[in-house]
């Protein structure tokens, strides 16, 4: 249900938001057709099509990969450092593990951890950013100050401080990245809320005597949908690169995991003699980032989102 008003409110920008209320009377069949048409319009943007296809291929590889991999990812299957052969398509690594099987198994955490981090950051940011923008006053002042301070510390430093205090590992990295990214999203959503909250349909809801929860989550949230979607796509791209880099640094996902970032770190000293173990996972991380980047780009174009350019994020 929550998706529907987003799809309706999107032509042009938030100015059309009142149209969403009127359209709600249309039958379910009409809405489904309208949504299908909008999806087709979106996919007619070249970046959207290429990005979606690449992402679908990678998701298929990640989901099917573990089932078709010839060897278990952490099993020592043969002598170390074999070259590519029919038995080991990409050869074996220093410990004799099959690189092809590790690549097939290594996508899950590369994709899942950033998604979890962005989802957690979004939940924090939606609540804090919308309330801060809508309520104004001292709440807004406090939120803005705290956001400014966190943004004054480069993200890598914050994550390193947390790792020093609490140790390495996927859970810590996901939670930290969520907390580090939340202020960036809060800033964007707060700005979006400020543009929507003086509009008539919000004033009407307040005049009807709706509570704050209804106004914020039923009136404002659906109407900043485009900004929200673009923000999710952009943040996911950053999070994929950031968490892969942290895994590469040895601070995120830990060996013997076959995470692509960990694989690059594990095999990089053998780059000269045995490049496949580095090139394959590095390439896949790149393709993943490109695909989501393209989708984010297409979303920005599709919704005519100007807020992100103005805020330089």
């Amino acid at each position: 249900m929550s998706v529907t008003p987003v799809a309706d409110a999107t032509p042009g920008n938030t100015g059309d938001a009142r149209g969403a209320e009127g359209d709600r009377g249309a039958g379910d069949g009409g809405q489904a057709r309208r949504r299908a048409r909008r999806l087709r319009d979106f996919l007619s943007i070249p970046q959207a099509m290429v990005g979606t296809v690449l992402l679908a291929l990678l998701l298929a590889l990640t989901i099917i990969g573990p089932f078709v991999a010839p060897y278990p990812p952490s099993a020592i299957s043969d002598t170390p450092l074999l070259g590519p052969s029919a038995k080991h398509w990409l050869g074996t690594d220093t410990l004799g593990r099959d690189i092809f099987s590790r690549v097939l198994n290594g996508g899950g955490s590369v994709i899942l951890l950033p998604l979890l981090a962005v989802a957690a950051a979004m939940i924090i940011a939606i609540v804090v950013g919308l309330l801060s923008g809508y309520l104004g006053g001292w709440v807004d002042a406090v939120v803005t100050r705290v956001v400014d301070v966190v943004l004054a510390i480069p993200s890598y430093l914050l994550v390193l401080v947390v790792v020093t205090a609490f140790g390495t590992g996927s859970t810590i990295v996901v939670l930290t990245v969520a907390v580090v990214y939340a202020p960036y999203i809060i800033r964007v959503l707060r700005a979006a809320t400020l543009t929507v909250s003086p509009l008539d349909f919000v004033l009407a809801a307040r005049a009807r005597g709706e509570g704050i929860r209804w106004v914020v989550f039923r009136e404002i949230l659906p109407n900043i949908g485009p900004t929200l979607l673009v923000e999710i796509a952009l943040r996911t791209t950053y999070a994929i690169m950031f968490i892969a880099s942290l895994s590469f640094l040895g601070l995120g996902v830990q060996p013997p995991s076959s995470n692509w970032g960990v694989m690059v770190a594990d095999n990089r000293l053998l780059l000269l003699v045995h490049p496949a173990g580095v090139i394959a996972p590095a390439l896949l991380i790149g393709v993943l980032a490109i695909s989501i980047n393209l989708i984010a780009d297409a979303l920005t174009e599709f919704f005519g989102d100007r807020l992100h350019n103005q805020l330089m994020v």
Binding site: V150, I153, P154, Y156, T168, A244, S245, R268, A282
Partner: protein, 330 residues
């Protein structure tokens, strides 16, 4: 021009404290807040004695470690003590080496600063002309090429970019060293070639962003009527770009070049680890992995302070560069 400077002077002498004073107060408060966040986070985790000494440490060893590092005192006391030390340039003792934190940082600091300087100069020298050219010749060949190249570089994390650079320049062309461990031996000029690939890796992380920003600004400025009238007067393209478009498109790019130092920090950490470059980024990762809180706190405060100060300076530079802001008497 005379009027503008009059207004500016009037603004500076009004009852509101001058811009410089307000900026310095804000700087001090931000640094204080950062110190609270950094120290608070490490204190939140509790006593690190077990993590540092290992699982089989005896009770007396743990007690000795706790006492030696004053970990039995209240957090507030420790914070005040630590902050007083930092203000006097004393960053405390490393948990791991046992020696002073500054002794760990000092030999590495110069190398990292030089590396960052190289990277930053590369960013400015490459992205400003490239972005300007792409923006002025919108949808021309240069623009399409710049857009394609920047989009594809931006899609890869720094460690992948660095890996590609190693494969091309160190392995295939054999032009440059594979790693930068040579930096710690000999003088600066003996090891200059070891700086090239890490600096390039760091720069390529930021170049796409600055090129795109410069392009967007140049495009906006180029749509103004004074630019079109200059074109109609028959001005040459280089003169148009450098005298009409660049000065007006520069301010947001200056801000971004300051902000981009935050991204550079990440680039430095990744590049130093990838190339085995013995700088503060590598020290930071090693210290975080070995849970050496005093070293991480010191480095975070130093880098955080540098970042905040540079942003302040770039803000001031934008005000100097933008007559409109100067006149507002900020």
């Amino acid at each position: 021009m005379v009027a503008a400077s009059d207004i500016a002077r009037h603004g500076w002498s009004s009852r509101r404290p001058p811009y410089v004073v307000r900026a310095l107060v804000k700087l001090a408060l931000t640094l204080l807040a950062i110190s609270v966040v950094v120290f608070g986070l490490t204190a939140l985790a509790g006593n690190p004695a077990h993590d540092i000494l290992g699982m089989d440490a005896t009770q007396s060893q743990l007690a000795a470690f706790t006492a030696a590092n004053h970990l039995n005192q209240p957090v507030v006391v420790r914070y005040v003590h630590w902050l007083a030390g930092v203000l006097h340039g004393d960053f405390g003792q490393s948990y791991v080496s046992g020696g002073s934190v500054w002794a760990l940082i000092e030999p590495r600091l110069g190398r990292s600063l030089l590396l960052i300087l190289f990277a930053w100069v590369l960013i400015v020298v490459v992205s400003v002309p490239a972005g300007l050219l792409a923006g002025v010749r919108l949808r021309g060949k240069a623009d399409v090429l710049a857009t394609l190249v920047t989009l594809s570089i931006a899609a890869f994390p720094e460690f992948v970019i660095g890996m590609v650079l190693i494969i091309v320049f160190a392995v295939n062309l054999k032009l440059l060293p594979v790693d930068s461990t040579a930096v710690s031996q000999g003088g600066l000029f003996d090891s200059l070639s070891s700086y090239v690939l890490p600096a390039l890796t760091i720069a390529l992380g930021s170049i796409p962003y600055i090129v795109r920003l410069m392009r967007a600004n140049a495009r906006d400025v180029a749509s103004h009527s004074y630019v079109r009238s200059a074109v109609l007067r028959g001005i040459s393209e280089p003169a148009l770009s450098t005298r009409y478009i660049l000065p007006n498109a520069a301010p947001p790019v200056v801000t971004a070049l300051g902000l981009q130092l935050a991204a550079l920090v990440g680039g430095v950490i990744v590049a130093e680890t990838l190339f085995g470059f013995p700088g503060i980024g590598q020290l930071l990762v090693q210290s975080a992995a070995s849970r050496d809180a005093p070293t991480v706190e010191a480095l975070t405060m130093m880098i955080g302070a540098a970042f905040v100060i540079i942003n302040l300076l770039s803000d001031a530079l934008v005000i100097v560069l933008t007559p409109k802001l100067r006149d507002a008497g900020r």
